[in-house]
Subunit: 199 residues, 2 copies
DNA sequence: AAATAGCGCTAACAATTGTTAGTATTTTAT
DNA sequence: ATAAAATACTAACAATTGTTAGCGCTATTT
């Protein structure tokens, strides 16, 4: 069998991970076998192990790459001066939506399949997710204090935001897609107008 | 080993399905083995087959019971006269939240694991889910026509609503839970105020 | 009391799982 | 051209998978 074709700027490991992300999204981590993955990569199962050390490692790479991605972004947003809480929330929301549109497979997988990580990665991911939600909640609470946002329960608002965005998977599968920008505007409008205090 | 203890008004099959729902939620359908399930039921794996015919059947029962539950409710809501679109949306939302709180395991599982159904159940479930979303979208479009709801993309709104509600899983796991009613009010407020036209 | 049905057990099955060892082949570096 | 490094292959492994067969105990019905 021929070698794994790698694109420019990408290792063969990257190819494997990308294919794995697609399969993990479609069938779930547990229901995806290494022989399954190998077939889609165009190689025998054993050959995969020249590039990765285990099935678990693939999930780890997907999850932590994505998590770090989101974490760096929120740190950046939070550090930007002269931004209202509403603006910060909008920036976070738009980033989530954009990530979901651009890196669909990996974002989706890391959101739904991280439970199949094993310790110590599992605990690590759990606290990373907790910390991330906490940061958003803090922005919302800041907005409430400043009178920009209605006095609602901040964790509930975070929960709604994050899960609403993850719903883009349905949109992705939908036949009659609306354009990406329109989707983004609609989501931000619906969610943020629910947050904004009505004066 | 002793027999499976069944509660009043419940068959032994019901006990198995309830335990399975819990495990399917925690570990996913594929990652849950029949021996795993048997252990939690307090019986050997083979004994399960005196009550169910296959692992697949368990998932089918969970998914279709839940789906029918939601479908009957929306039909009921839709048939109620003298209800504004906003009121209908609120009723649907509150029902979802209540179901999520009362039948957590089964609702969660049927939402996240239905992909592991096999045909013909898979196709059946797919069209049932599509039909359900379509009904909600129709209510929203009705609301838009009547001027109750902002002119947003109805499928997007449905997507946000349904996924926001499914986020209650996070709440379920949360240490510092706010009371169920408060959660419900917060969610409905945030989501519906985002929908309601500002006059 | 006898017959029947319900339900548990052990043992086993074929298939599939992730992974390793050892070897051959192809690419890269010298 | 030769040596070295990558990377593919085949074959096999032990463990786990869902499920069935067959047997025996126990509760229910006759």
């Amino acid at each position: 069998m021929a070698k794994i074709k790698r694109n420019r700027n990408g290792t063969r490991k990257d190819v494997i991970i990308a294919k794995a992300a697609k399969l993990f999204r479609e069938k779930g981590f547990s229901a995806t076998s290494m022989r399954d993955l190998a077939e889609h990569v165009g190689v025998e199962a054993a050959s995969l192990y020249n590039h990765i050390s285990s099935k678990a490692e693939i999930l780890q790479e997907i999850c932590f790459k994505t998590a770090n991605n989101f974490m760096s972004h929120i740190e950046e947003v939070d550090a930007t001066p002269n931004k209202t809480a509403i603006e910060k929330i909008q920036a976070i929301l738009r980033f989530h939506i954009k990530q979901m549109l651009d890196n669909y497979e990996e974002v989706y997988v890391s959101d739904r399949e991280w439970k199949h990580l094993t310790d110590p990665y599992l605990s690590n991911m759990q606290s990373q997710r907790r910390a991330y939600r906490q940061r958003i909640a803090s922005v919302i609470e800041e907005g409430i204090r400043k009178g920009e946002i209605k006095p609602i329960d901040a964790p509930t608002a975070v929960l709604i935001m994050l899960h609403a965005v993850s719903g883009i998977e349905s949109w992705h599968r939908s036949k009659k897609k609306i354009p990406g920008e329109l989707l983004e505007d609609n989501m931000v409008q619906i969610l943020v107008d629910g947050l904004r205090k009505q004066v």
